[in-house]
């Protein structure tokens, strides 16, 4: 790769980068050693003030790491400048794939969250048959590969009931897409159900009792008192699942849905390059950063009570 005639992969620039990054690491290690001996002067749990020398070392490490950052950025520009047309067509095709990935993600969240609540309620039901049914449901859906479940949803109707699914279409969506949404929703509902159940069961009994004595109906108690507090409790672990789902959408390629990872695979073999995979990775990461930000804001908005 080159930019303005400079090669980044070898030569003087590369040597410079390598040296500077080694120095940066040395700086960090030294500062860490200083901090450790410095900590001994403070009582346990006290807030530790960084010595000036450590601050300087950190700043030096940051500056020394800069060439590497520049090198990475320039390499990316190099990717573009080497063959602009190829790059943009890659972006375009991956963008289309991303549309499908996002579609799977979006509909799965829409369906699996409420379904998870139902499964959680079912598992906690006092009626033995209902709770047994949902316990088995969660056990199977969590205990078998998601890929297998997707295949079963897709091929199941034909093998079990002889229904041909090839012609089924809802709006612009074919059955491959629909089957992957069904598969993902059923699977993620099982995980969400366990998260919700944990949240609901962690609620102190006193909240139910206070609501009962005040005369709230069971419905009012659940929707006004319990669930709003459960949301706060389950948000971190539910966020975990949501972010995993973004990456799991790539499993839809077993149903030949042209989601982003399928596209990236096809492009990678056509171009004999890993570049499409790296760009796809960037797409996934950008999406997850966005989700993280939204979840963070959401969490912050509930910080007014503890």
């Amino acid at each position: 790769m080159s930019f303005a005639g400079i090669s980044f992969d070898n030569g003087i620039f590369a040597t410079l980068t390598d040296c500077s990054i080694v120095l940066a690491v040395v700086c960090l290690i030294v500062s860490e050693i200083i901090m450790n001996s410095h900590k001994k002067h403070y009582p346990v749990g006290a807030k530790i003030k960084k010595p000036a020398f450590v601050v300087i070392l950190h700043a030096a490490a940051a500056i020394l790491a800069l060439p590497l950052v520049i090198r990475i950025i320039l390499s990316c520009i190099g990717l573009v400048t080497d063959d602009k047309e190829k790059f943009f067509s890659t972006i375009k095709l991956l963008g289309q794939g991303f549309g499908f990935s996002f579609g799977i993600f979006f509909f799965t969240i829409i369906f699996s969250l409420p379904l998870g609540l139902i499964v959680a309620a079912g598992k906690m039901s006092k009626i033995k048959t209902i709770s047994a049914f949902f316990t088995v449901y969660v056990s199977i859906l969590r205990g078998t590969p998601l890929m297998l479940q997707l295949l079963l949803v897709y091929f199941g109707p034909y093998y079990l009931f002889g229904v041909t699914t090839g012609n089924i279409e809802i709006g612009p969506f074919n059955y491959r897409f629909i089957a992957s949404i069904i598969g993902f929703s059923l699977n993620y509902a099982a995980y969400f159900a366990e998260i919700f159940r944990g949240g609901i069961q962690s609620m102190p009994k006193g909240q139910y009792e206070a609501a009962q004595v005040l005369g709230f109906t069971k419905m009012q108690t659940y929707f006004k008192i319990i669930l709003p507090q459960v949301v706060k409790r389950v948000l971190p672990s539910a966020g975990n699942e949501i972010i995993t789902l973004v990456k799991d959408t790539s499993l839809a390629q077993v149903l030949a849905v042209t989601e982003m990872f399928t596209q990236a695979s096809a492009l990678a073999s056509a171009q004999v390059s890993v570049m499409p995979f790296i760009v796809a990775g960037l797409f996934y990461y950008l999406m997850n950063v966005t989700i993280e930000t939204i979840l963070g804001l959401f969490e912050k908005s509930m910080n007014y009570y503890s």
Partner: protein, 250 residues
């Protein structure tokens, strides 16, 4: 007229008999303190009266309405409508407050008024402001429970119990989770309620408070009422050996 009547109450958890035939009635305007060692059944008695536990046999009447009866040998509880009618007649103050942490102080107090008692928002707010003034918490109306001291939280929960204008209030060890300093403020509020002739049943370990505020003290141990009588007399001159032994500890 008796606001609360409990007759021959039996309650067991699995094989453990917690209440072994309790009789207790509380007349209007009366303040009854229930004292006794831990595990003696005081809290269970209160939880049975406030519908949080179902009794095995006996009869409970609150404000003239029959909550449950076992006249024919089997316990029968009243239907749903009567149950909510009865629940609107009493208030309960918990040992650990059980405020709703996601609601402001104001909403903690008004929520039941608006959504259970179908009062308008203005009406509910008016009741709330009155109660907060009485509890010396006017400035805290828009705070959340986590920002209040234990004593303030307990006073909010007393205000919440009072909001629906109940005929009787039950206190389940209202100061046990508080330090002596915070206890004072809560006891002061309960004392004022007693002066206003509020009917109250108070489970407590604050012996001097019980002696001063209650009209009658009930001493419970081992699932039975060992002794009961006028507050001052029971504390200063107990008749039963068990009561003497217990009070000697204070």
């Amino acid at each position: 007229m008796n606001i609360l009547e409990m007759h021959d109450i039996h309650k067991s958890f699995n094989d453990l008999d917690v209440l072994k035939g309790i009789d207790l009635s509380v007349s209007q305007g009366e303040v009854v303190a229930v004292i006794g060692p831990s595990g003696g059944g005081k809290s269970t008695l209160l939880r049975c009266a406030t519908t949080l536990e179902r009794i095995d046999s006996g009869k409970i009447v609150i404000g003239g309405d029959v909550l449950c009866d076992s006249a024919d040998g089997k316990i029968h509880y009243c239907d749903k409508n009567m149950l909510s009618e009865i629940r609107s007649k009493f208030g309960l103050v918990f040992q650990n407050f059980n405020l709703f942490p996601h609601f402001s102080v104001r909403r903690n107090i008004t929520e039941a008024l608006i959504h259970v008692h179908k009062k308008s928002k203005e009406e509910a707010n008016k009741i709330c402001d009155g109660l907060l003034a009485k509890m010396d918490l006017t400035a805290k109306a828009d705070e959340y429970p986590c920002n209040l001291s234990g004593g303030q939280q307990q006073r909010v929960s007393i205000a919440r119990a009072l909001a629906t204008n109940p005929e009787i209030i039950f206190f389940d060890e209202p100061t046990s989770a508080l330090d002596p300093e915070l206890t004072k403020g809560v006891l002061k509020v309960i004392r004022e309620l007693a002066q206003e002739k509020m009917t109250m049943v108070i489970v407590t370990h604050e012996m001097s408070f019980a002696r001063d505020v209650a009209d009658r003290i009930v001493f419970m141990d081992g699932g039975v009422i060992v002794e009961e009588g006028p507050a001052y007399e029971l504390v200063t001159n107990p008749k039963q050996e068990r009561t003497k032994a217990f009070l000697a500890g204070y």
